[in-house]
């Protein structure tokens, strides 16, 4: 009897065991182990040889890693800016009580249902120099036209921006539109009585009111930037050469192809820094809210 009562009392704890194991072992524990490996001289297998921060020194002397960080910065700024701008514009235009609103929403969001792999492969085909869409422009009477960014080392990262913006800006549209629909109708009435043109209301009143939505979108987009992997692998395999290398791919290559687990782990820890920095304000806001 006593045992049964104890089991009943502990039922909530027992039920949360999978979550506890996931959070503590699979997330925290694994991240801590990665941090530890990054301070050892591990090659193919983990080794206990502690070498302090030497891997980080190697990492930042590694040209390929530095290039991947540079690519990530360029990609990140353009991807986030373009998604925000396109998503917001689409939401505002859809918000003008247009006919066929549902059809437009469906069209703008469907790419988000596709995998990064499929997205990358479609755009690889579309942007293939010669046979892709640049051939259409040539056929229109511009025989000299060519759009070969995907095979150019200095331009390839922008093609990844194009493909992933196509995939993700519908999500921004959906979140922004929901935000717009939450704006108090009285604001529009008042603005109209005062004769303020709608675009100014959007820019000066509505946009600032949407900041919680924008903050969410920013968090989602910027963590998606750090995670960027599948799309690059499918679209360019990091090439031509290493021109579209990104940090996640650098880490995967060094973990599983180049047998340099220590260096890869150092790279993973470095990637953790921007993510934690992005999450910190949210954790802070949440803690304050709970204290209040």
């Amino acid at each position: 009897m006593k045992a049964a009562r104890l089991a009943a009392r502990l039922a909530p704890h027992t039920a949360l065991l999978p979550m506890a194991l996931t959070a503590i072992v699979a997330y925290l524990g694994a991240a801590a182990w990665t941090l530890y490996i990054s301070m050892t001289g591990s090659r193919t297998f983990p080794s206990g040889r502690f070498i302090g921060l030497a891997q980080y020194g190697r990492l930042f002397d590694n040209e390929r890693w530095m290039l991947s960080l540079h690519n990530l910065a360029v990609y990140g700024v353009l991807f986030v800016a373009a998604c925000l701008a396109i998503g917001f514009l689409l939401a505002v235009f859809i918000d003008q009580r247009v006919r066929g609103e549902g059809v437009f929403r469906t069209i703008f969001l469907y790419p988000y249902a596709m995998s990064f792999v499929a997205t990358g492969l479609v755009w690889q085909w579309l942007l293939t120099p010669g046979d892709g869409i640049d051939g259409v422009v040539r056929g229109l009477g511009f025989p000299g036209f060519s759009f070969d960014w995907i095979v150019r080392q200095d331009m390839v990262i922008y093609t990844v921006v194009i493909a992933t913006v196509w995939q993700a800006s519908g999500l921004v549209m959906a979140l922004m539109l929901a935000g717009l629909r939450g704006v108090d109708p009285d604001i529009w009435k008042a603005a109209r009585l005062d004769g303020i043109p709608p675009w100014r209301v959007y820019a000066r009143i509505v946009l600032p009111m949407l900041w919680p939505t924008i903050a969410t979108v920013l968090l989602l987009l910027s963590t998606a930037v750090v995670k960027l992997y599948d799309a690059v692998v499918a679209m360019t395999q990091g090439g031509p050469g290493t021109a579209s290398e990104v940090p996640t791919k650098f880490i995967m290559d060094h973990l599983f192809l180049r047998s340099n687990v220590g260096l890869a782990s150092a790279g993973a820890v470095v990637l953790l820094v921007p993510v934690l920095a992005l999450l910190a304000p949210y954790a802070y806001a949440r803690a304050r809210k709970e204290a209040a």
Binding site: A15, L109, A118, D131, G182
Partner: protein, 329 residues
């Protein structure tokens, strides 16, 4: 990780409570999906065709064309013989329609050493997705229920860690997980890949159910407690029967997420269980010889078909899931 949530009244598309009135830790849940515009919004005069409205439609139609272009090109490319593709005109409709590329993609194309099409990948993806979805929903529902009603000590901290983990690139955890699974002797097997999907799907699943149950009146739970219901009985007899809407949303999210996954399948599934996305990438990027663009595009459509069909047929449910589970991706 919180944002202000639209008032629950906006929430019409999926029945029953889903949004709590406020949430200290919704994570970046989006708002309820796109309620219809309130009838009055100031500009109540009749819509007439003026230059501004024409401009709006021109912009929207142009944008729609841009978004539809890849889908259109995929479909027409997959239905053309290679000779037409070489002659150019990626936008042109096929002259000689052919389904041969589809047949090739399904059952003939080389995915590495074997040349049996991507149907094997399809089968593997089904085998991975079904248990990963059923178990993830079960765990997510129990988590959400315990977090909303029982609130054991420390559970919220665990949930915070779980949510934060959703934003971290898997590369941070992947190598230790590989070692542990190798040690347990399951690395490169179906159980391994299912387990990994459960681990990485848990934040979104838990979040969905937690927010859903937060909208259930607490009195209901207290009444069940007074009637002598225990943890599991209340869950199975009171909460679960009213959870159908969120189960559907969770299923859509998890199926899409697991089906579209590439990196976890690549690392954990093992050679015999590679999911369709991995096989697709092998077909297109690692085979040598002339590129069969039509077969490639047919294979791409086949791989994207399930999530696209889910999206087009489940409409608002999908949108709600995306909004609430946008943590992923």
């Amino acid at each position: 990780m919180s944002r202000s949530i639209q008032p629950p009244a906006l929430d019409r598309d999926v029945a029953a409570p889903v949004q709590p009135e406020h949430g200290p830790e919704q994570g970046p849940v989006g708002p309820a999906p796109l309620p219809a515009r309130a009838p009055v919004r100031g500009r109540s005069r009749r819509r007439r065709w003026n230059p501004a409205r024409i401009g709006i439609y021109v912009f929207l139609l142009g944008a729609a064309a841009f978004f539809l272009l890849p889908l259109y090109v995929m479909v027409v490319t997959s239905l053309k013989p290679m000779i037409e593709i070489r002659q150019g005109g990626i936008l042109a409709l096929p002259h000689a329609w052919t389904f041969e590329p589809w047949r090739q993609a399904w059952s003939g194309v080389c995915t590495g050493a074997a040349c049996e099409g991507i149907r094997g990948g399809f089968r593997n993806s089904v085998w991975i997705t079904v248990p990963s979805t059923l178990l993830a929903i079960a765990i997510g529902a129990v988590n959400g229920y315990a977090l909303s009603f029982w609130r054991p000590r420390g559970a919220n901290l665990l949930f915070g860690i779980l949510l934060a983990g959703a934003f971290v690139p898997v590369q941070v955890m992947i190598y230790p997980l590989v070692r542990v699974m190798a040690l347990a002797g399951i690395f490169g097997s179906l159980p391994a890949i299912v387990l990994v999907h459960l681990v990485f799907g848990m934040p979104v699943m838990t979040l969905l159910f937690r927010n859903y149950y937060a909208g259930v009146p607490h009195e209901l739970f207290q009444a069940a407690r007074i009637d002598g219901g225990g943890f599991w009985r209340i869950f199975l007899q009171v909460m679960l029967p009213m959870s159908l809407p969120i189960v559907v949303v969770a299923a859509i999210m998890q199926v899409t997420g697991v089906w579209n996954d590439y990196i976890l399948g690549l690392v954990f599934a093992g050679r015999d269980n590679l999911p369709m996305t991995v096989e697709l990438n092998n077909v297109i990027n690692t085979t040598t010889g002339t590129r069969q663009y039509n077969v490639n595009m047919a294979a791409t459509i086949l791989t994207a078909l399930l999530p696209l069909a889910l999206y087009f047929f489940s409409g608002r449910w999908f949108v709600r899931g995306i909004a609430a589970g946008a943590v992923k991706g």
